[in-house]
Structure formats: C-alpha cells, structure tokens
Amino acid sequence: MARLIKGRRAVSETPPSPDEKIVRLEPADDPAAVAGELASASRVEVNFPKFGDGRGFSIGRLLRERYGYKGELRAVGQITRDHLFYLESCGFDSFELREGENAEEAVAAFDDFSESYQASPARPVPLFRRR
C-alpha cells in the first residue's frame, strides 16, 4: 500500500540517492537555523511526531513565506488524510502518511474544502480580498 503522496498523487517511494541532501526539522527546531541550507537542499522534511502536534504547520509557512524555500517540502510522521488540506495550505507538497493509511484513498482529502478564509502559501491573498 503506497503511503507517499506527491503532486496530489500516490507514488511509490524511491530510496534516496547518496547525493541527495535532505534537511529534516523536528517540531521544536527553528527554520531560521537552516535558512542557509535551503538553496542546496533537494528536500526539506518536517516531522509531525504526534497527531495533534501542530508546530510543523508554522514551520511550513515560515519556510515558504519567510525563507523563500521553493523545493520539495515533505510532511512526515503521524500524518493522516485529515491533515492534508491544512498541510497543503501551509506549503507542503509531499506527504508520507502514517502506517495504515492508504495514499490512493487519502488524496481525496485535498478537496475536503474548496476555499479558505485565510492567507497562506497556497492562497497568498486572503478570501476577503477576492470576494
């Protein structure tokens, strides 16, 4: 059962090649500390060790909005389909689901909501300026 989603599609994982540079952040880490490494990173991973630990959402937004990271941003850890809409809004574009989740089914959750009130990396202009 595929557990990885990229580009809103379930994909199989490929083992990282030796020249890939993966930057990994834990919830308590400050993205400012890795700002200098972002340009050369092939991927940034943010860990969500618990279902209800929301610190990584702020980290995602900061990486995109403040530190200008444009590359692959992956959420890993206790990720279920229930997080996908919010994660994508906060700038994540790849998702490693937790054990037991089915990526093929989970992709439907990107359409849980068709709109957001807030400004975010996915919608830089808040709804009230588009209404």
Binding site: R61, Y86, P124, P126, F128, R131
Partner: protein, 562 residues
C-alpha cells in the same frame, strides 16, 4: 443576523461531509480512538459520563428564531427534547448518538449553523457583550468584529492543532460586559484622539486550574492590523506553547514563563514580518461584513417612563431586573431568565425554545442573543409592548426577575452529566435558590453574582463570581470550596475562604456570607462585592468558620480539607 454568502455556506457543508467520512472511518476501525478524539472534539462532540455531548456553536451568542426552531427540532428528534445554554454562549445537547451526529450537523448547516471548533485544541467560539448593537455606550458593533474573527479562525490551516483550547472575547462598548480580562485574548474596542477605532489587546487571561487576569500587550491596535497582530500572537503560541503537560499548555502559562515583556517582544518581532501584509484588513471588508448583518427597522417612538407601565404585582421587579436600556428611544432589551428555581441553570426544553422563537418573531425582529450568564435576550423590544411580553414570558416560566441577583446562578452541567466533574453543580444551585426563595430578600441583598463549577476547569466561572463555589473531590466524596471577591469586570479572582464543605452545608454558608454583608454594608447602594473589596475576606471567613477558638473539632475540620 449575519447571513452567509455562498462561500460561507459551502464551507460549512463541506465540513459536514468531512466529518461524516471521519465518523465512518472511526466506526470502521480506520481511525484510532485518539485520532478520532482530536477530530470529533473540533466538531463539538465529547464522549461524556452517560452519553456523547454535542456542543453547537452560537457565534457570539446571536441566534435567529428560525435557528432556535431548528435547535428545538433537533433536540426533539435526536435527543431528549431539551438543550443547555452554556457560559460560552453555545448550546449543548446531552444525549445524542455518535452515529447520528453527522446528520445533526447537516441539519444545523441548513440554517447556517455548525459545531465547528466548539471544543478541542482549537480557536473556539468568539464571545461578546449580549447588548452589542443596542447598548447606549457602544463604541463599535462588536458583532461585526466577531464575525471577521469567526471567518479568520475557521479552519485556520496553521492554527488548527494548537497546544490547547483558545478562547477569545470582544467587547465593543465602554463598559466591559464580555469579561475580556479572563480570556486567552480579549479585545476592548476604543477610539484614539483622532477618533480612529482600535483595540486594547489583552493576552493570557483565563480561568481553569491556573486562573489569571490577562496582561495588556497593546494599549491601542488600529483596526486594520487586527488579523496580522493576532496571527503573530497565535504563531508565537503555536510554536512555543507547552505541549508536554496539558495543564500547562494554555497561552497564559507561556506568558507567565516568559514574562509579559519578553512575550510582547516575541510577538512584535513576529508581527514585523506580517504587518501590512495581505491579511491587513480593509474598509471594504469591514463594510461587506457589516452589510451582511440584517438590522432591525426601528420605528420613531417616544421614550416611555417605565415606572408608569402599570401597577401590576410583579411587573416592577421584572422591569427593574430584566429590562435594559436601549440606544434607540422607545425600545428596550429584555432578558428572558433561564434561572427559575428547580430548573438546571441554562436548560430549555424544545417546547420552550419554540415558544421563545415565537416571542422573538412577535416582539424582537426574529432575533435573540444567548448571554454568558446562560440567559436569553430579546434585544429590540418596543417599550409599549413590555407588559404584554412580560405576561407571556411569565406564563412560560421565563420571567423570573433575578438578573444580576443572587439566584441568577451560573452553573456548569457538573457531575450530573460531565465526565470531568468532581462534584454536582445543579443540585447545589437549586438548594441555594430554595434557601433564598423570598424575592424581597433577594432584592434587598442586591446585585450579586454567584457562580458554581463542578471542577477546576471552571466552566461555571466560579473564580469571577462575587461568590464562587467549586466542587472538589475528597476520597471519592463531593466537597465544595467557597470563594469570595471575584468579579467579571474589572476582572478579579476570588479568594478561597477556607476548608471546603459538604453539599448540605453550602446553603448555610451562603446565608452566613449574606448576613455578614448585610451587617456591614454602608447602604443598599454598596453591593456585596464592594463590601468585600472594602473590608477584605477576613470578616466573611470569621462569620463562616467562627473565631479560632470557636471552630469545630479538628477531626471534623480535617475531613473537610479537600
């Protein structure tokens, strides 16, 4: 009423569909208990002592008659034909079935209602002054700002998994009737010297286990910066609030541990990046939201002298306590009391809900408000129809003339329903109401807030009652700790008198406190709380416990220390 546009409606409908699927996955074993817990709570669904409990949002307490009829119908169809209005201006159903909750949410969505973020570690229902829009001392209509905040906070992608719940209050008038000092964030609207509207922003207040009054993080925040500034506060909290201990996870603990000055610096540093960004509010948006509110079409009427409404027994007391001044001549706001003796505070039957909806239609432009004191308000009643309304309300058991008085008790559902409670609240409220059943005496005692919580989570706001009662557990038995000197506004926290009491003793203790007050007040104008503030807690303590050498035997006292 704020009327949804197509997008507001669509989002609520999509939420119903999402929760239906989450419930299905839980029942199919695809979501763990813990995962589903986090998801159901943000839809207001608790698993309680005897059954689930569903907390339905009534944003800023504003409700239409149509919505109230729907609530009556839902309570009848899915529950036991009654509901409970809470201190968060919400409605709780105590007996729904888990698998039917998605259907209930769908019914709510059909009248522009929901249960979004009424629980869980999320941004909760924004509360405000029940006299918003009609108070003579209004600075801004707080409903407009509450709705702007409702939209900003609904499904906020970054702040949907906060360390802990987050409560927000907005006060738009000169007098604080929203208790802004005891919320995670409290906003008090003000105007500066140039007549520009802004907000005094308070952070880190709250009741519960560690009651604290918030600190003023900003004396004046111009309104366009409201959302970016709050976003900065929430980001600091989301990143640095404690997640290792549920009892230390509220923002007040972060404020306390960092100290207000450092907390303010952190927020200002964050805000420097967000200020003037796309989330900066515009005149157009504030006007758009304001225009989506329906407004009463007032008639030009002359103000009446309410003392001359008629010499009917009981009427004057009701006018004095339950009728409130209105900014428009010839109109008044009326509190329908849900504090009749023998009825759990805040409880309303489906039949009553329908009757109240009818009153709202015929007397108050089809609108009503829920107060944080667990009563209902008809905000726009013609003064020349007050007598008529009073007769109808009295026939429905909704005209108890006790608003602001001792028997207008705030009480949580307590141990009769709540899984968290250490002790029952409802029977204590009733015993006190029965003890003080002489209305003349209650009037003579004057203004007094008596609040009861069944545990330290403080849903009954006992810390800010002039008299507060807290249920505590002592070796599996219910005991009650008594506090005095709390106040909603200006926010002050009560002081514990001493060792706690058995339930049967509580009415005696309240009576002693009242005796002490009556003996020591300067005049009828000096309220209970004023006397406590003037003479301190010690005389009250002595009245209750006696002097040290007259105290009950040690064995009895030890048993009572909880």
């Amino acid at each position: 009423m704020y009327r949804y546009d197509e997008i507001d409606q669509r989002l609520v409908d999509e939420r119903v569909r999402q929760f239906r699927d989450q419930t299905r996955r839980f029942l199919a074993g695809q979501l763990s208990e813990e995962e589903f817990r986090a998801l159901r709570l943000r839809n207001g669904l608790y698993i309680q002592r005897y059954a689930p409990m569903l907390r339905i949002a009534i944003p800023y307490g504003l409700l239409s008659s149509k919505q109230l009829r729907k609530l009556a119908e839902i309570a009848r169809k899915y529950d036991r034909a009654y509901g409970h209005f809470s201190t968060r201006q919400n409605l709780q159903l105590n007996w729904p079935r888990l698998e039917q909750v998605p259907d209930i949410l769908a019914e709510l969505a059909s009248v522009q209602m929901h249960a979004i973020q009424t629980s869980g570690n999320s941004f909760r229902n924004v509360t405000t002054d029940q006299f918003a829009g009609v108070a003579a001392d209004e600075i801004v209509d707080s409903f407009v700002w509450c709705e702007i905040l409702r939209q900003w906070s609904t499904f906020h992608p970054e702040f949907s998994y906060l360390p802990r719940k987050f409560k927000f209050a907005v006060n738009g008038a000169k007098a604080d009737r929203a208790a802004v000092g005891v919320h995670d964030i409290g906003l008090h609207a003000i105007k500066d010297a140039q007549n520009q509207v802004g907000f005094k922003v308070m952070v880190g207040g709250g009741l519960g286990r560690t009651p604290m009054v918030g600190f003023v993080i900003r004396e004046f925040l111009p309104w366009p910066h409201l959302l970016t500034y709050i976003e900065a506060i929430l980001r600091v909290y989301n990143r640095y609030g404690r997640r290792d201990n549920i009892h230390k996870a509220r923002i007040k603990i972060l404020v306390k541990e960092r100290g207000p000055e450092r907390f303010r610096e952190d927020v200002e540093a964050e805000w420097a990046h967000l200020k003037d960004g796309p989330a900066t509010l515009t005149h157009e948006e504030v006007e758009r939201v304001a225009e989506r509110f329906t407004r009463p079409q007032y008639e030009s009427l002359a103000s009446q002298d309410l003392a001359k409404l008629g010499n009917v027994p009981g009427l004057a007391a009701w006018v004095k306590r339950n009728v409130h001044a209105h900014r428009v001549p010839g109109y008044a706001a009326v509190t329908l009391s849900l504090k009749k003796t023998g009825v759990p505070p805040g409880d309303v039957s489906s039949d009553q809900m329908e009757a109240i909806a009818s009153l709202a239609d015929r007397y108050a432009f089809g609108e009503l408000r829920v107060t944080h004191e667990q009563n209902l308000v008809l905000a726009d009643v013609r003064q020349d129809r007050l007598v008529e309304l009073w007769r109808e309300a009295r026939a429905l058991g909704l005209a108890t003339p006790n608003v602001g008085l001792l028997t207008n008790i705030i009480a949580c559902p307590g141990g009769d329903f709540c899984a968290l409670a250490n002790a029952k609240s409802i029977p204590v409220a009733e015993a006190i109401q029965r003890r003080f059943d002489d209305l003349d005496h209650v009037f003579d005692i004057g203004e007094l807030d008596l609040n009861i919580s069944g545990c330290m989570n403080a849903c009954g706001h006992h810390h800010v009652g002039h008299i507060g009662i807290l249920g505590v557990d002592k070796n599996g038995e219910e005991w009650y700790q008594i506090q005095v000197g709390g106040s909603q506004a200006p926010a002050a926290l009560g002081k514990v008198l001493g060792p706690s009491f058995a339930r049967a003793e509580v009415p005696d203790v309240i009576e002693k406190l009242i005796e002490c007050y009556l003996e020591r007040r300067d005049s009828e104008a000096e309220r209970f709380i004023d006397v406590v503030q003037r003479i301190g807690v010690a005389p009250f303590k002595e009245q209750v416990y006696g002097k040290a050498d007259q105290r009950p035997p040690r064995s009895q006292r030890d048993a009572a220390v909880a």
